[in-house]
Symmetry: C2
Subunit: 219 residues, 2 copies
Amino acid sequence: MRLVIARCRVDYRGRLTAHLPSATRLILLKADGSVSIHADDRAYKPLNWMSPPCTIEEAPGVWRVCNPAGEQLVIELEEILHDSRHELGTDPGLTKDGVEAHLQELLADNPHALEDGLRLLQREYPTAIGPVDLLCRDAMGRTVAVEVKRVAELDGVEQLSRYLELLNRDPLLAPVRGILAARQFRPQARVLALDRGITCVAVDYEALRGLDDPSSRLF
Amino acid sequence: MRLVIARCRVDYRGRLTAHLPSATRLILLKADGSVSIHADDRAYKPLNWMSPPCTIEEAPGVWRVCNPAGEQLVIELEEILHDSRHELGTDPGLTKDGVEAHLQELLADNPHALEDGLRLLQREYPTAIGPVDLLCRDAMGRTVAVEVKRVAELDGVEQLSRYLELLNRDPLLAPVRGILAARQFRPQARVLALDRGITCVAVDYEALRGLDDPSSRLF
DNA sequence: AGCTGAATGTCGAGG
DNA sequence: CCTCGACGTTCAGCT
């Protein structure tokens, strides 16, 4: 990793055109070949960047970064204030917990948390337009399609609606109703779901993780 | 801006839970108060970060970054290899030249590029659920709603479908058919559009820009 | 390699 | 403040 603090001007020509006038910035060159230009704000987002694979051509005062698609990032260096290199090695990487995949897993193990008497038929039940997260049967023996989201938005309702339309064409499953399960609901999604006869169930992730039997885990 | 290269472990507890085992990384502290942890890969994206507003509590060997929502980023510093500060000043910012809004503009000027005899009635035609990109009339005098996308995906078809349903309730406009115009089509979007009786038209941006009369431009 | 859906998306406009 | 849609989205997972 190379860290350069420099007064510079930057031009990007690619999917769009962008220009940065002269100012002092951080130029971050990573071992993966990426280049990013940071100001002292905008949180972690750089002003401009080039993702790998790309080649860097270093002429005195001008760095030209090109990628195979023909996009170009041209950095004109007016004054270099700092320049250091550091060996970081490969990173062991990030372990995440609490995303949609994990939520789906917990609900597959505890469908009754969505509704009393709900039993899992199949997880990732395949259809022509994609897999249904959870296919279940309720206490009355009726088929239920469950779509799991971290945050339920309009898209999620549309998606579940498409699944329901398709599943209801299958005489072995019909009639099928829908449950949209999420940690958080956008009001518009709630309204549209109601209009479509889809049940919204707010999921408490922490409580659900508590429900999951710890003794059944090996770690 | 403060640049720290250090061997560290990181824990995040917030919207989800994440952990980074011990490794050497860049810790980037910006003047806006943000903190981001970078490995030597993943292009410009940090492994973990905290956006402002947040407070940094520096104890020896442990930095605790907290935001008002109660999210926490805990950095355990095992060895500091580099630590430097730099005055950058405020950045004049980025000037962009968009490609996307342009597409709608070009099609508004050249509706015949979508279909022979197509004429523009109104751009951004307002409806209760949002503006229709282009409202047109075809060679047969029939109303046509055009949705413009850079890349047409499923939600673009859904969006146009909702518009069509609404527009067809207006006796002055009905019957209204739909055209989905895009530079690129996802296969599923094409299938769903066909099923809904929506016409897909692939748009060649470069050619369209060529169509646009250069003499009518001042630059 | 191409396509699809998720994301601590981020970002900006509009109510 | 929240909601919604676009993005040079990026990214991982799967066909």
